[in-house]
Symmetry: C2
Subunit: 279 residues, 2 copies
């Protein structure tokens, strides 16, 4: 295996005895945004992806997630427009929309003759986590079969319209999209924060935060990932022609957080309307 | 490969050409709750699990998750007591607590001199999903290396005390625990709902819900998984000696939902205190 991976990109040592086909697949992940639009994903392969998704752990065997497969070009285009208008969603022959889903649980409670007694926010977390675990398994399974994937968080940009388009019932909403297809271009594996920043022993520590972020900034500036991608906040960030200071993960992330995404406001109200408790 | 897996257990057809080492690992998953307490997980192996976790996709490269590794027996025991008192948490030599983490993002926004402008609930979802994707990759990587895992959602039973014990900063809370160790007993692969119930084409459909749940009930009753595990709700379910009707996934899940879990109430208030917006 000569391709770059998490270990080589981030300089993380790994005993050869810990390498195997599964680890190799996981650490080679990079998002694909360039697909062959003329090579569909066979239906019996999608079935394998769903089997992989179903194999993930699920809280109390509730299986509180669903997936809506969208291949119809017009419907996929509508989802593209609703999801930050990203062209690769048109290009990908398959778009899987993973949903947190407690519709079935309300339904089965009523079917068995009981009153629903789990109206609390933790059930939302149960379902969101279930949907994410399922999606990750499907994505890795797809990658192992030569497909490329891109996770699409912007499926939550317009949750009401997405819900209407996919006819999602009460208790069900789209958490993450997965564009899937045969890649025409493979991206490089993106460096991540040093392990010392995200990995804590016994208790959370900020001891390595400053030095780790500084090192990561230097590493990310090398990659030119942020070239032509500076976030502008009118009246706050410098005018574009003056915006020439160092720009790495820290500055990019800080500007993203400062600017926010107005489309993502109001999720709480949407979820309440959709039948989730936030208490 | 003679072991049972998702395909054989649920009768899902799979073209041999779609089988590979990654798919095989994914579809063989079952939770492990019996660990060799005397065989620790080497630190350089944990490093590989963290590398796998970091290789998962992350919304906007925010990397809004952290993991706290707990191996100290006393601290692990405290987490056991806080997490539904499950004995296998003592037994597992390694307990990984995955956290949704936007502490770093508030910190970096201030560090770069900006005001935080992302106080909305979607950021909570971003971080919860990031933490789940990371955890799933770590779990699969562990399984590929001969370890067993059990996801521990009950880490959210006492979120405040867990947060205090792990010294989690504002903007950070435990979403899911992962007990990890060398298995002394392997559980069977658990049947899942028929694919027709969770997998939808173009739009959500309840067409196969009733028949699918009925078939799943019959299948789950065969497994005797619910033997001695009937949920009692005083005044609602029959007296134990009278509780002899058919009992499968539908009845078990309905009773779980009807009863609720009083420990999981109040998550909304906890998260607001912890610095998350639910708007």
């Amino acid at each position: 295996m000569n391709r770059a991976d998490r270990f080589t990109v981030d300089g993380i040592p790994c005993e050869p005895s810990y390498r195997n086909a599964v680890i190799d697949q996981i650490v080679r992940h990079s998002s694909v945004r360039d697909f062959d639009p003329n090579r569909p994903v066979p239906d019996d392969l999608v079935r394998v992806l769903v089997a992989a998704a179903q194999s993930a752990s699920t809280s109390s065997n509730f299986q509180s997630w669903s997936v809506v497969q969208v291949t119809d070009p017009d419907r996929k285009h509508s989802l593209r427009v609703l999801s930050n208008d990203q062209p690769f969603i048109d290009q990908a022959p398959l778009f899987l929309v993973f949903c947190a889903d407690i519709f079935r649980h309300r339904w089965v409670t009523q079917r068995q003759g009981y009153s629903f007694g789990s109206d609390y926010m933790d059930l939302l977390l149960v379902a969101v986590i279930d949907s994410a675990l399922a999606c990750q398994n499907a994505a890795l399974a797809a990658e192992s079969l030569g497909l490329g994937c891109c996770f699409v968080g912007s499926i939550r940009d317009n949750p009401g319209q997405v819900s209407d388009l996919l006819e999602l019932p009460p208790g069900c909403f789209a958490t993450v999209g997965l564009a899937v297809g045969y890649p025409t271009r493979q991206n490089e594996v993106k460096p991540r924060l040093p392990q010392s920043v995200v990995w804590h022993r016994e208790r959370y520590s900020t001891e390595h935060l400053e030095s780790g972020v500084a090192a990561y900034d230097a590493r990310m500036m090398q990659t030119r990932i942020y070239k032509n991608r500076r976030v502008e906040i009118p009246g706050v960030t410098p005018e574009p022609d003056q915006d020439i200071g160092p720009y790495g993960w820290a500055e990019h992330t800080a500007r993203r957080m400062a600017k926010g995404n107005h489309l993502r406001r109001g999720m709480g109200g949407f979820l309440r309307e959709k039948g989730f408790s936030l208490d």
